[in-house]
């Protein structure tokens, strides 16, 4: 009975959403405040209904109610509680429910915290959110209903795919969706403004916090997913350019561009048309990602959906929303007036440069991801576009951007002085080269290019520090004043510096692990040892073990450096009993930012076992860097000026304060 109530709540949601997507529009067309006021209440009601429905599905998982087909397919009574809960979104239907939950959550947020928005804009935004919600609610009800029953109910479930039984999976999809779906708000703002035909600097000021929030979550979500793949798949890689990874990476690139262009629009009222287009494109890429992952068109670890009706349905959603949005854009864009002028060398110019590179990079990733699909659809020829393609194109494209990042914040709005900025960054570049030289001197080896890569990373760190120091006036004023000024800086200034610092940390991690990692594949018998990264691993033997829903064989290794014991590590092969599916549980031991990564292969007939050992220098920098970027995003979000938004009446009369050139 309770399951049917959950199902019913979903149907009610659809009805509520239809009201939400129509009445407010009629309201804005007729200028009727009563009809416009329907939007916030409908949005909050929609969220509550979805949350209720989702809670009931979770309840079915927690109580292992195998009369529900979805629970039977993806759960098992012996599964640990946390995976019973995370299993809710570890499958197609549940994952779409999570999508819907987060979508309605954002609508409710706009409804609750959008009090400072003009009534018309808020009504339109929520109506557009309503359309998206209605489309996806319909999708779930018609093609992916998680509440379908089985009769008779089976006694035991089929268990969740073992590689998904992991804490990483409990956290990764919600974070990713908070980012992915969060960009729907920017999309809705763009469409709402296009419907009304009014877009100005204030619009950018309202959109930016949403973009910032979505971006921060997406950054964390992608990093989490990368770390999950790294330790759970046992292949030692942290990024595979898998289409599913690209699906979340493309909105991230476009979203990063959006963050920066919205800044120009907010401060200088320039790049209006472009910013609106980016808002549309970013969420379009989110939708495309959803299509790629959910329709099963890909050959991929993640593609656990294989029903073509779903694919066609999402494709229809995709075409209607992207096509509709772009048509509306084409119709209205010519009426938008271009804003402030600026010289090519200026803060605006730097941000345009950023946008040019990020969108080109997104387009490149899109090409590489879709080309095999398009070619197969057209000619039937099957090809694969591998990591070398993406590494070459993406890597080369990003290089100028990385070099330019520290320049951006140092250039003035309207007309900047490249030479002066260059002089100020002279020290940063020196620090970068000096640190890279020290690394070369102490460690040595590896390709020369790698040291330049490291130098770029260090230079970005120093550049971010330079930015903060200049803002605080270090060297020009006394230390006390500088300290006070530093703490008085707006949150967005700290956010920018942190995010750019994070990029530098990531660069260092990527370069170090790519150039200096070592891999050793050896056949080991108890007592044998292998040396990686200066550490000696000695294989002590195997042990049989048993988990709640699996059996495992674990190898024990002792780690020593120069004869001194440094610890131990277990690496195992598991067999999940319900699905008879083996998995590799890598043994990972962290030393500073570097890691030893041990994964077990096949047992040999003579009692030995194949062991694969990697030394991964500075690899943790990759995820720490992403974490720093995310923190930067949230710090920036705490900026008071973003929270209070633009004062409405005064905004025409008084342009954004020049001092606010913080970002």
């Amino acid at each position: 009975m309770i399951i049917e109530i959950g199902h019913y709540a979903l149907v009610l949601l659809l009805a509520t959403t239809i009201v939400q997507s129509l009445l407010p529009l009629v309201g804005t067309a007729r200028n009727d405040p009563a009809l416009m006021a329907v939007a916030p209440s409908a949005a909050v009601a929609g969220f509550l209904l979805t949350a209720f429905s989702f809670a009931i599905l979770t309840f079915a998982y927690v109580t292992s109610d195998f009369s529900v087909a979805n629970v039977w397919q993806n759960s098992h009574s012996m599964k640990p509680m946390i995976y019973k809960i995370s299993g809710v979104w570890g499958n197609h239907e549940g994952s779409m429910m999570l999508w819907l939950l987060i979508l309605t959550f954002f609508s409710a947020l706009v409804a609750t915290f959008g009090g400072n928005l003009p009534e018309r804009l808020r009504a339109n935004v929520l109506a557009v959110q309503g359309w998206i919600t209605a489309a996806f609610a319909l999708f779930i009800l018609l093609t992916s209903n998680p509440f379908l029953r089985l009769d008779p109910a089976p006694g035991e479930g089929q268990d969740l795919n073992p590689i998904l039984q992991d804490v990483g999976l409990a956290i990764h999809p919600p974070l990713l969706y908070l980012g992915y779906v969060g960009f729907s708000v920017c999309f809705s703002f763009a469409i709402a403004a296009l419907i009304d035909g009014r877009i100005d600097a204030a619009w950018a000021r309202w959109v930016r916090p949403w973009a910032l929030m979505a971006w921060s979550f997406l950054t964390a979500g992608i990093a989490m997913g990368s770390y999950w793949a790294y330790y759970e798949l046992g292949w030692g890689g942290w990024w595979f350019w898998d289409p599913v990874e690209n699906a979340s990476f493309m909105p991230w690139l476009a979203g990063t561009a959006l963050l920066h262009s919205a800044l120009v629009m907010e401060k200088r009222e320039a790049l209006k048309i472009w910013t609106v287009l980016l808002s549309i494109l970013t969420f379009s890429l989110s939708l495309l990602g959803t299509f790629l992952v959910r329709s099963g068109v890909l050959t991929s670890v993640h593609a656990f959906a294989t029903d073509p009706t779903r694919g066609v349905f999402i494709l229809t959603i995709l075409v209607v929303f992207i096509g509709g949005a772009l048509s509306l854009f084409a119709l209205r864009a010519p009426t938008l007036k271009a804003g402030g002028l600026f010289a090519p060398i200026s803060r605006e110019g730097a941000l345009v440069f950023n946008n040019l590179i990020l969108t080109t990079a997104a387009a490149t990733v899109l090409t590489g991801t879709l080309y095999p699909l398009v070619l197969e659809a057209l000619t039937g020829e099957k090809i694969s576009v591998g990591a070398p393609f993406f590494n070459l194109t993406f890597g080369l494209l990003m290089l100028p951007l990385l070099l330019a990042v520290p320049f951006g914040p140092l250039l003035a709005w309207k007309r900047g002085d490249l030479l002066a900025a260059g002089q100020r960054l002279f020290a940063a570049a020196g620090v970068g080269l000096f640190l890279a030289a020290i690394v070369q001197w102490t460690h040595g080896g590896g390709p020369v290019l790698a040291y330049f890569g490291l130098a770029i990373g260090f230079y970005m760190l120093a550049g971010a520090v330079t930015d903060m120091a200049l803002r605080a006036g270090v060297g020009k004023v006394t230390a006390g004043v500088a300290r006070r000024r530093l703490f008085g800086l707006p949150g967005s200034a700290f956010g920018t510096a942190l995010a750019h610092f994070g990029v530098g940390v990531i660069v260092i991690g990527i370069v170090a692990v790519t150039a200096f990692e070592t891999e050793h594949v050896v056949e080991m018998k108890p007592g044998a040892s292998v040396t990686a990264g200066g550490y000696t691993l000695t294989f002590d033997g195997m042990r049989q073990g048993r988990g709640p829903n699996y059996t495992e064989e674990s190898g024990h290794f002792t780690i020593a450096r120069a004869g001194v014991a440094k610890g131990e590590v277990w690496s195992s092969k598991r067999l999940y009993t319900a699905r008879r599916m083996p998995t590799t549980e890598a043994g990972i031991r962290t030393f500073g930012f570097s890691q030893l990564y041990v994964s077990l292969g096949d047992a040999m007939s003579d009692g030995g076992i194949v062991v694969r050992v990697w030394w991964k220098p500075m690899i943790l920098c990759i995820w720490f860097g992403a974490l720093i970027m995310m923190v930067g995003g949230f710090v920036s979000l705490c900026d008071r000026r973003l929270r209070i938004g633009a004062p409405q009446g005064a905004r025409k009369a008084r342009p954004a304060p020049a001092l606010g050139a913080a970002e």
């Binding site: 795919n161 590689i163 046992g234 050959t299 670890v301 294989t306 010289a343 090519p344 110019g349 040019l356 590179i357 080109t360 387009a363 490149t364 090409t367 590489g368 080309y371 020829e381 099957k382 090809i383 694969s384 576009v385 591998g386 070398p388 393609f389 070459l392 194109t393 080369l396 494209l397 594949v521 050896v522 056949e523 092969k573 699905r579 008879r580 599916m581 083996p582 998995t583 590799t584 994964s599 077990l600 292969g601 096949d602 040999m604 007939s605 194949v610 694969r612």
Partner: protein, 150 residues
């Protein structure tokens, strides 16, 4: 520079960047695309040694031999043709005889042996690599039971 010249310079720079990006993409494509073959195809078309391809099919039952250290050799079949493959490294958890596999690598000069540097096996017990399933199905090969094409 006049304003018009400045604007032209900016637009020219942007377009130049895009053109460079397109050329880069095309170059990268020419370097890194791997075509997919099943053993039957290789009887009809010759793949020059050193050309990177993806070879898909089933691991022939009884063909897996572990050599010294971590080198493994096996035979990939689509019931029409067979190709011997060697691979050094750790095979995926789900690599098993009689089941679907995709090997990435190239033929070596003067030998019929395919040297793989990457081996992908299906991801769970009911999943068959999509490329393999489509191609085998097109050739009318049925794989029997639950292991058939999805």
């Amino acid at each position: 520079m006049t304003r018009k010249q400045k604007r032209l310079a900016v637009i020219g720079g942007g377009v130049g960047f895009l053109v460079a990006a397109v050329l880069l993409v095309m170059f990268a494509f020419s370097q890194s695309i791997a075509y997919f073959y099943v053993p039957g195809d290789l009887q009809k078309t010759e793949v020059p040694p050193g050309t990177r391809i993806r070879l898909g099919g089933l691991v022939e039952a009884g063909s897996v031999e572990r050599g010294s250290g971590s080198t493994v050799s096996f035979v990939v079949t689509d019931t029409i043709g067979t190709v011997p493959v060697t691979y050094t490294g750790i095979l995926p958890d789900l690599f098993r005889e009689g089941q679907g596999v995709v090997a990435e690598g190239a033929f070596t000069a003067g030998s019929q042996v395919f040297v793989a540097d990457t081996v992908l096996a299906k991801h769970d017990e009911t999943y068959m690599p999509k490329d393999v399933a489509d191609r085998l199905e097109a050739q009318g090969v049925t794989l029997g039971g639950k292991e058939t094409i999805r």
